[in-house]
């Protein structure tokens, strides 16, 4: 299988402000968010990054989508390097995270056209794709309603649709069902499965075990910025449930729940 996304020895550190040092009761000036992290996602597979809050999942995804630069290491997205050619990487991926917001003043209709133009999508193709995605997610009747007036679930659906206006082959979703009601979460999960069937390569970060079990082929467990385990879902869950396996690994690597 083709290696469509290759993460190589990524490292990312952040300076800790004096204020943050006080809050975290530490004298460390630097926080290592991601430490020598590597994995590969093959064409057509769904790769899940599983880990607790603050494990470095989001930072990893932000480096993969060329939003922030790694201190060390690289990510090759279909051959394009996030370090050397970030614009090419951004063309190839669709990235969705809760940190990316849409201008509330505009309508879904306007925003879809706007982002299609930024991605250089042909007008006719964009119109057809808009119709198809809007119908699938039930956005059509809200197409001319300002984003600010939409419900949280509808906003998330619009964000998801906007992130894939250019029909990318590689999709990176950070906590795609976080904060959604069960109905919207199901719509998103079903859509991820549909994308998988279409042969898209998907990397999804989450701390929801059921989502991983439902859609992922392979799983990477990230603890304290490091890749603790990276294996197929089948191997990981051969003897124990994913949840049990995770807590075993977590206890071994991070010293257990009580110490966290």
């Amino acid at each position: 299988m083709k290696e469509l996304l290759k993460v190589q020895n990524l490292r990312k550190t952040f300076k800790i402000s004096a204020k943050q040092q006080k809050i975290e009761k530490t004298k460390e000036r630097i926080k290592v968010a991601v430490d020598d992290l590597s994995f590969t996602a093959y064409e057509g597979e769904v790769f899940g990054l599983l880990g607790p809050n603050g494990a470095g999942k989001t930072t990893t995804l932000r480096m993969m989508s060329a939003l922030v630069k790694p201190d060390k290491g690289d990510v090759l997205v279909d051959g394009a390097s996030v370090v050397k050619n970030p614009e090419e990487v951004r063309k190839k991926i669709g990235f969705l995270t809760s940190e990316l917001k849409l201008e509330e003043f505009f309508t879904p209709n306007y925003l879809f056209t706007f982002f299609s133009e930024l991605h250089g999508v042909d007008k006719a193709k964009a119109a057809a794709r808009k119709q198809s995605l809007f119908e699938k997610f039930g956005i059509t009747k809200f197409a001319e309603v300002k984003v600010g007036d939409l419900s949280t679930g509808m906003k998330q659906k619009v964000s998801l649709v906007i992130s894939i206006v250019h029909d990318p082959d590689i999709i990176i979703f950070d906590e795609p069902t976080n904060g959604l009601d069960v109905l919207t979460a199901k719509v998103v999960t079903d859509f991820l499965l549909e994308l998988k069937e279409q042969g898209k390569t998907i990397v999804v970060s989450t701390h929801i075990f059921s989502l991983i079990e439902k859609i992922c082929d392979r799983v990477g467990i990230v603890i304290e910025g490091k890749m603790a385990v990276c294996d197929t879902l089948a191997s990981l869950t051969a003897e124990k449930s994913l949840e049990e396996k995770f807590f075993d690994i977590f206890a071994e690597r991070a010293g257990g729940l009580n110490e966290k």
Binding site: L67, V68, E87, R90, K101, E103, E104, L118, I162
Partner: protein, 395 residues
């Protein structure tokens, strides 16, 4: 109820006084800036008066009486040059066109001293009259006029009002409508334009840059394949257009209302300027807006939110107002092209030149070229900032 009021007040005060930036920009900065602004204006005006103290008025006089020669000799800052009556027409023309090498033309009646001595105040007949012609739009002429009338007033008082100065309806101020308009517009418009243009830029740029950061929408743009420089140029050009519309509206309002504001709507109007003056003004305004928008955008990109951006931009706005005041202080109006490389100051002085009908095309060209260069550098800096995660994702 009192407790709730106190609780709310305490919360508001804690919010305000524990935010050092807010205290600085809201409480300390305005006082400091106003102190600097007024001190600056004061020293500028004082320097004008200092020049006036050394000044000696050069007065062409027809039928110069002995009494005036005595006044000049006794220490009055007046230097008389006797001229013939048939020269007055040419002298008045020179005064009107500001080409005169003298400051005033004083016309005394023949045998002024004898007429004054013979004049009986109680008889209430026609008193001997002195006519003093000047040009109020020429600083030296205006100063000389004040000195001359002061000297004559003192002499007249000593003689128990035995003569008149500038009697009747005759026009003695040789300033033309054009001169008066140019003087008023060149003093007021540059400063007002700087305020209006800056206000226009402040209204849009912090919201568009810091606002997008604050709301998280800039990150959504940054994950698209668009070049950072395209984002910077797109923002700056569109914001400039909006700011120019705002500035243009202010400009129109200023030009139309200024004569009324000055209380001289008869004689002062914007029609004294021709199309080339307006085209030059437009060029200066366009390039100025580019500079201001770029500056405000860069500051806004550093800020974490709109409030912080507005706070940081305010001192810069006050500095631009300070520079705007230089059009009112002749000693601060430089004419060498090198001064026109200084951003904002160059815009004020270029507008001052245009509105005083003394525009130097080289200086305006330097201004426009320099401003476009500064805006270009600003776009480059902004593009780099858009690519800098520490700036873009600072919390």
């Amino acid at each position: 109820m009192k407790n709730s009021i106190m609780t709310i007040m305490k919360k508001e005060f804690t919010r305000f006084f524990t935010d050092r930036r807010m205290v600085l920009t809201t409480v300390l900065m305005p006082g400091l800036m106003i102190y600097l602004l007024y001190s600056f204006m004061g020293s500028g005006l004082a320097s004008q008066f200092e020049t006036a103290e050394d000044f000696r008025a050069e007065v062409c006089a027809v039928n110069l009486p002995e009494s005036m020669k005595e006044i000049a000799k006794s220490g009055a800052p007046l230097e008389f040059k006797e001229v013939a009556e048939n020269e007055t027409e040419q002298l008045l023309e020179d005064l009107e066109t500001q080409e005169a090498v003298y400051d005033l033309l004083a016309v005394f009646p023949e045998d002024f001293d004898a007429q004054v001595a013979a004049y009986d105040v109680a008889a209430a007949g026609q008193a001997p009259a002195v006519k003093i012609y000047y040009n109020s739009t020429d600083t030296d002429s205006q100063t000389a006029y004040t000195m001359m009338t002061e000297a004559l007033d003192a002499y007249e008082s000593a003689l128990a009002n035995k003569f008149d100065v500038n009697p009747g309806e005759e026009v003695y101020d040789m300033a033309t409508e054009e001169d008066m308009s140019a003087q008023i517009f060149s003093m007021m418009v540059p400063m007002l334009m700087m305020v209006f243009l800056f206000s226009g830029c402040m209204a849009v740029a912090p919201e568009s840059i810091a606002g997008e950061k604050e709301r998280g929408t800039i990150a959504t743009l940054l994950v698209t394949p668009m070049k950072r420089s395209h984002l910077a140029i797109g923002k700056i050009v569109s914001l400039s257009v909006i700011a120019i519309l705002s500035g243009f509206s202010s400009f129109l309002g200023t030009m139309l209302s200024l004569p009324k504001m000055m209380g001289t709507n008869e004689g002062v109007n914007a029609s004294v300027y021709n199309m080339s003056d307006y085209i030059l003004t437009l060029l200066v305004v366009l390039s100025t807006v580019l500079v201001i928008i770029t500056l405000v955008s860069i500051i806004s990109a550093f800020a974490r939110n709109v409030k912080e951006a507005t706070g940081w931009v305010t001192p810069v706005m006050i500095i631009s107002m300070l520079l705007g005041v230089t059009s009112m202080v002749p000693s601060l109006c430089m004419t060498e092209p090198v001064w026109f490389l200084i951003p904002l100051y160059n815009s004020v002085q270029s507008m001052n030149g245009i509105f005083s009908m003394d525009a130097d095309v080289v200086n305006i060209a330097v201004t426009v070229a320099a401003n476009v260069c500064y805006a270009g550098i600003g776009v480059f800096v902004l593009a780099k900032m858009f690519d800098n995660e520490k700036v873009m994702f600072s919390k």
